[in-house]
């Protein structure tokens, strides 16, 4: 009896592939699970199925402004926030001052996109756990935002709306009316979502005390956004490292408190996203009031973008976390190197750390709670 057979008999492990076509892995992600019965001993995520060489293309393109449509395609669920980060980086390199009206429109549009992205994250999380209806309620609301975007930018998902130094086109005439009306109708819907899903006992049973991410591990893994805030760290780039005009608005940062389970579990990450919806509404209201009416959105757009030699790391708060662009320019019109540091890539690398010992059903809620988008992971 060689030792080999002994340990195989003792440990009847089964290796299962969850994905890349698995219905609940938010896109093309393959998780190799080593199972002992229902309990997961080891998780190894395999990525790269959606790798479209964003960074290689950014170097091939002849112009900084031609990269913008490609930043949309990284995290296609929150396209505006990807553009916002990139555009702020280039403007900081060219030291361009953007008119106030543009800044306000950018903040409103970014916050609307944050709500739309969170709605998808929350809906998909509920859907993974079997709650089909909240998913569709979230999407009905999301459609209203996409309608506003369609009237303003012309597109529904990938907008290419921001240009370096301004916007591609001005907002449509009753933009303010639509936005305030949306804010008014959306607020009660958050309460309805809470009653239907967030405080539903079965949902709590499925998400509390699961996938606990302690604060130290979160910081060491450079988690950011709702995942970091879910573990109790009060860290939001809009407040801690303010960019654009976020310092003019007052809003607070919801943080996980371990209300139903331990601090940093799936439920905390989820409830942080739900409470962020409310904060985004507050920002939108203040921004819509403070938005100056006159001012041409295209005046500060430079004819040719040729930044001086140097490099810069700009980071913004995308709905999934800290989105950073590391841009190196060598004085020519071609970008020398653009590295996109995307939050989902980092959060997915944490998956093995927080999900060993969980059950298969928990694996689904852990993946749902870190709300990853594979376009952003693979770039």
């Amino acid at each position: 009896m060689t030792t080999d057979t002994e340990n195989t008999i003792g440990k009847r492990e089964m290796t299962i592939n969850m994905g890349p076509q698995h219905p609940s892995t938010h896109g093309v992600l393959r998780l190799e699970l080593v199972l002992d019965g229902e309990i997961i001993n080891k998780v190894t995520p395999f990525i790269g199925y959606l790798h479209r060489c964003f960074e290689k293309y950014a170097e091939e393109v002849k112009d900084y402004s031609k990269v913008i449509p490609y930043t949309d395609r990284m995290d296609y669920v929150s396209a505006i926030n990807q553009e916002h980060g990139y555009v702020l980086g280039i403007e900081r390199m060219l030291e361009i001052e953007v008119p106030d009206r543009v800044e306000h429109i950018r903040v409103i549009v970014a916050e609307l996109q944050r709500i739309a992205s969170h709605l998808l994250g929350i809906g998909a999380f509920g859907l993974d756990l079997g709650a089909f209806t909240p998913f569709l309620y979230c999407f009905t609301e999301r459609e209203k935002i996409l309608d506003i975007f369609e009237r303003t930018t012309g597109a529904r998902l990938l907008y290419n709306y921001m240009a370096v130094g301004g916007l591609m086109r001005d907002v449509h005439d009753d933009f303010k009316k639509d936005t305030t009306e949306f804010v008014k109708t959306f607020r009660p819907k958050i309460k309805e979502l809470n009653d239907l899903l967030s405080y539903n006992e079965i949902f709590i049973k499925r998400t509390a005390n699961i996938g606990v991410l302690p604060e130290k591990v979160a910081i060491n893994y450079a988690a950011s956004g709702p995942v970091l805030r879910g573990s109790g760290v009060k860290w939001d780039l809009r407040k801690n490292d303010p960019y654009s005009i976020y310092d003019r608005f007052d809003f607070d940062i919801p943080v996980g408190t371990g209300e139903v389970g331990t601090l940093g579990d799936c439920w905390d990450r989820y409830i942080v996203r739900v409470r962020e919806l409310e904060q985004s509404l507050r920002i939108i209201e203040q921004a819509v009031e403070a938005m100056p009416d006159e001012g041409d959105v295209m005046e500060a757009i430079p004819k040719r973008i040729r930044p001086k030699e140097g490099e810069l790391y700009v980071r913004t708060e995308s709905p999934r976390g800290e989105l950073g662009y590391y841009i190196i320019s060598d004085k020519s019109a071609n970008p020398f190197r653009i590295k996109a540091r995307t939050p989902s890539f980092v959060h997915l690398s944490m998956l093995p750390a927080i999900s060993t010992g969980a059950l298969i059903a928990d694996m689904v809620s852990i993946v749902g709670s870190i709300d990853i988008v594979l376009g952003e992971v693979d770039r």
């Binding site: 449509p69 369609e150 012309g154 290419n160 449509h172 009653d195 239907l196 539903n200 040719r304 019109a333």
Partner: protein
Amino acid sequence: MLNDIKVGWRTFRSIFKGMGITFGHLFSPSVTLQYPEERMELPKGARARLYVNIDDCIGCNLCARACPVNCIDIETVPSTADVDLGVTSTGNPKRFWLTRFNIDMAKCMYCDLCVHPCPTDCIYMVPEYEYSEFDRTNLVYHFSNLKPDMVASVKVKAEIEAEEKLKQKEELARQKAELAKKKAEEQAEEAKPKSDEPAAGDPGKDIKPETKPVSDESDKDESKPETKTEGAEPAADETGKEGIKPETKPESDEPAANDSDKEGIKPEAKPDNSDADSDESSKKENGE
């Protein structure tokens, strides 16, 4: 056991609250749009399909250069002196025959980057979203409205014109060279060697007069068909901006497919499906 009962009670309460909400939604109106009967009309500025008003196009190629995926393919032939192509609606004089203006809508990603640089605003996006095709080649839209024989004759004329211009230029160059030689001899006689050579920009660089408008985008008013005249840009960025020089493409074998000129308000730029012959597709009312 007590805790279980408390959890059980909370479970029931949250279940009944949830069921109350869904029961309420049972009677709220549905948001579905029955597609073929009830259609979603896109707002005015929706970016759904590219359309080029070919009469206003001056062949400046700025849109082809701005497109990140290079899905716009333009072939222009300089118009000879005797033909006056008239003026676009925005007052720009037209100096090129547009023998081929294809947009491959299958490659287009609707990023709207081509619409902004156009000096005459002749390329814009039309809110029409029902243009799917069975055959992918049908998605290549041919916007130029010159018939194949017209294209051939224009090209021939352009060739002749180009040779004449070439001859004139060589003559000019020869005269200038003689002048310079004479002057050099005089200076040699005064035994004071002149240090400067003749100014740069010797004319022999470009044989065919490239159809290059002044590349300063903002300069809207006229597009001189001279050879490339650079402003104060240092030569270093030459390659950067001139990457895609739209000089005339090597003669593509298939005759430029013409048709699908679009009159009328509703742009129906329906391409004919085969490149070989170019009869009007059924939707066009103005047959040849």
